[in-house]
């Protein structure tokens, strides 16, 4: 097997995923092409052999294989091909894994992996899909909204509202600290057509305390009860007698706009182009679980990932678990019995927001930066996805 290195990983600031957000007036194509431009030095452009882009709502302006359009807009030569993939929230990480696979297999040596989601412009559920509407899936497999899955995890694990809120408060604290101390090196500014800056820094994290969070109303109680989704959850987990609705806007990941790109190279390409690798991709894994509880697969994926590498959790210096909901991260930490101080050290999606297709790539960039800053070796990135899946990846910093 060939080695695959991360040469660089860039990401846009995460904009608030609403009309009020700093990236809302930037088209998703512009967002992605600016990111590609910033990641790939001009001289390297002709040597890129493929671009794989994660995007969860590939319709409308994000449709028709936005990867190829972004390459053309970013003035890559016509010879550089691109494609778009979707495994929901792990798409960005899967894009890296796929690009890496091709390098590891010796078929290519310089690839670009990206992720894009402009949630303020192409809202969730824009792509329809059988998952939520086709009775043979939605009804037979007890498909429920993710928030209710998160509440189901909290119910089964008896997490309290205070625990979930505290996790969210900490995420914001860590994020504000990282921003203040300028830890987040891989952010690139995004510009309007005029050349005026649209957004230069993450705009979602804010000062928040558990008192403020405690006043927020649960987000999923009404639809859980009225639309019958709680009944589906209980049909799948009959030992529970009810669902505790504990998640709300403050302890769930926020909607966000953003894009990311990661340049991957083989050993040959490193030498040929005189590149400096920052980290090596050691292994990755994808797995499925019960689609009703939906969000618990990261633990299983990481277990299999470590088994593959004959490593233990104690061998991993830093963890990034996507903070889809507080309960997802708490359950992950609990199941792998991790030290909380090694997990999401600069905060996560609850603070920064979660631009679906881009988040996986952003987490890779974040962990590479943090391994570098702390001079540590191994990091694991993992994300849960809709329909009950997860992806994970182990990387090692290159000295």
């Amino acid at each position: 097997m060939h080695k695959c290195y991360i040469v660089d990983s860039k990401r846009t600031p995460r904009g608030i995923g609403k009309e009020s957000g700093g990236l809302h007036t930037v088209s998703s194509l512009s967002l992605l092409s600016q990111t590609l431009e910033a990641t790939v030095p001009y001289a390297l452009k002709p040597f890129i052999e493929d671009l794989i882009t994660g995007c969860v709502m590939p319709v409308g302006e994000q449709g028709a294989n936005i990867a190829r359009s972004a390459l053309l807009r970013a003035s890559f030569p016509d010879t550089v091909p691109g494609m778009q993939i979707n495994r929901f929230c792990s798409s960005g990480l899967d894009a890296i894994a796929l690009c890496a696979s091709k390098i590891m297999a010796g078929q290519q040596s310089l690839n670009l992996a990206a992720g894009i989601e402009s949630m303020s412009r192409v809202p969730m559920l824009s792509d329809g899909g059988a998952l939520v509407a086709d009775p043979s899936i939605a009804m037979q497999h007890n498909i429920i909204p993710q928030g209710i899955s998160a509440d189901l995890i909290a119910t089964i694990e008896s997490y309290t509202r205070e625990q979930l809120d505290q996790f969210a408060v900490d995420s914001h604290k860590k994020a504000l600290n990282a921003i203040k101390r300028n830890y987040l090196k891989s952010i690139i500014p995004i510009y309007h057509a005029s050349g005026i800056e649209a957004l230069t820094n993450d705009e979602v994290p804010r000062n928040c305390n558990s008192k403020a969070l405690s006043s927020l109303q649960p987000s999923f109680e009404l639809i859980g009860n009225m639309a019958g989704y709680n009944a589906l959850a209980l049909n799948q987990y009959p030992e529970q007698s009810k669902i505790n609705h504990l998640h709300h806007a403050g302890n769930s990941s926020a909607l966000a706009d953003g894009a990311t790109a990661t340049l991957l190279a083989s050993e040959t390409a490193i030498h040929q182009h005189g590149l400096k690798p920052r980290a090596q991709i050691i292994a990755f894994d994808q797995i499925g679980t019960d689609p009703t509880i939906m969000l618990t697969a990261p633990a299983a994926s990481c277990k299999r990932l470590l088994e593959k590498c004959k490593l233990h959790t104690s061998d991993i210096d830093l963890w990034e678990i996507n903070e889809a909901f507080s309960a997802v991260a708490l359950k992950f930490i609990q199941e792998l019995n991790l030290e909380a101080s090694r997990v999401n050290v600069n905060g996560g999606a609850i603070a920064y927001g979660h631009p679906l297709g881009a988040t996986g790539g952003m987490l890779v960039g974040t962990i590479v930066d943090e391994l570098t800053r702390r001079q540590l070796k191994r990091g694991v990135v993992t994300l849960c996805t809709a329909a009950g899946m997860a992806a994970s990846m182990l990387i090692e910093r290159v000295e």
Binding site: A133, P135, M139, A227, G228, A231, P238, E239, S241
Partner: protein, 637 residues
Amino acid sequence: MNHILYQVQSNVAILTLQQKNKSNNLITASVFSELKKYIYQANHDDNIQGLIITSGFNHFCYGADVAFIQKLTTTPLSTQYKKIMDMHEVLMVLTEGKPSVCLINGLCLGGGLEIALATQYRIGIMNTQMRLGLPEVKIGLIPGLGGTQRLIRLIGLEHALPTLLKGNNVHEDQALQYQLIDALSKTKKIAITQSIAWIKNPETSRKKHSVNPYRNLQTFSGACALIKKDTQGCYTHVENLIQCIYEGALLPLRLSLECEAHFFLKTLNSKQSQDILKTLFFDRMAIRKHAKSCAKRHAIEHLGIIGGGFMGSAIAAHALANGIPCTVIEQPKRITQVTQTLHACLQNYPPTSAKMKITSDMKQLSKADVVIEAVFENIELKQSILKEAEQYLKKGALLATNTSSIPVGILAQALESPQQFIGIHFFSPVRKMQLVEIISSKKSNIASQQKALALSILLKKTPILVKDIAGFYTTNVAMAYASSALDMLSKGIPAHLIETAARRIGMPTPPLQLLDEIGIDVIHGIIQQQKSLSQKVNPHAEKIITELYTQKRMGRKEKAGFYSYTPSRILWDGIKQWEKLDQSYDIANIEHQLFSAQTNAAKELVETGIIDAASANVGAILGLGFCPWSGGPLQNN
């Protein structure tokens, strides 16, 4: 062939459905082929500008003849499909051919509504108690003549989904509001004038409903969840129905009909639907047919009821609402209260002109053709009242007892003419429950049984015949269900898992809740009675019931039983004394025990000749709500 009268008025063809030798229209093969002939004739005749379909009876159409549908299954699948698509071709002529109007009066159900939906304009006729619906889902089927696809397109998903998935009827005002009908007319004559005017100038400004599931994502997602909440995944035909609606909604109308045909045939030919159909349609109809033949021979013009309590009043109100005059016997001091109870019961029915009398004078029973004793479940009390009543009966009148468990033969011992005495077990709420159990003692004569059957039909009930043992049929099956739950509870299985398991197999009321509804004192009484009759009693069940009885937790009426009821119903904390929470339980196993407790009890009663298998299936579903998806406890599930 003359099910349809074909007339021409002002160059418009009027097709009047009036099925030969019947008083109501049902769609049969011959009715449909005649309809086809006239639809084509009207469309091919250059002098005809359009057509009107109407009924010559009080109702437009009851729907397709189920026997006609069932006959399809005797042919190869490809033939079944072809036959349905041939019918669609005809209905498509109504939809796409010359202007067509349907005049709707009274009931317009199933295939009848599907014909109405295929026409281009619908006029309802006022004051005919119009009810439109697609009730197929209630007997294990789904609509098969375009109902699923035309209804959603005509009135939109929001109104169509509940109508289709629950089989609910739409009444006159709703029909207009939903635009299921385009207009209302005072009389059929006016409706015909209106129809002719519309046919000459067929314009419509209806809004188009979007049925695309992806423009109605929340609607579909929510419908899936709510349906599953109701059905717990037990009903394949309901799943086929919503799948059919969804897949059809993704296609243009003509192709969606093919889609519907595939789902209709998948449903019709499934074992589950055949089982449901057999019990809830064919067996139930056979039972009612026999009872109807008895009703022809035995006139019941006056009913006597002894005891105006909860059941007595409810039976009296139900009889009055069905046009049977009643005399209710009650103690003098309770007459005012009983009058109130009875009037309250009558509020649930449309107004009736049948006369009632509430009196303490037993002599008044001499007018009655049937007298039903409905006093408290106590052998001595019942015996003494029956004995007294017997003296005042008119010659040839039937004396009956309403009891859920006391053997009729024991009560008959007190009587001089036990041959004219029988048990009729009514279910609560009397207005809603379709079943009655009829129990002949060894001495009851055949005429008594026939009169009881006749009364059941007059009261619009489905009567099953059960031999005379304590608890008869349904009470024994219900007790087996409850005992199995108490047995599991005594072994430490958490109460909420038992209740959940019951809901998951499609029982309408979980067992501990059922015990609360019946009343812990009543159950305690039944157990004591069983012991006094030397019947076997589950010791675990007895222990738990005695515990609740001692603690005066008598059930829902006392707001305390297995559940606590204030502020809302939750399982009583005290139940935890029996629960062992340190182990895990397989819910499938609990489900199996609750199910098989009932099927085993029913099988034993059938094998010992207490009841026949068809009645056992019908009785369990109509009387106990036993897993209707199964088609009854005697099906081979």
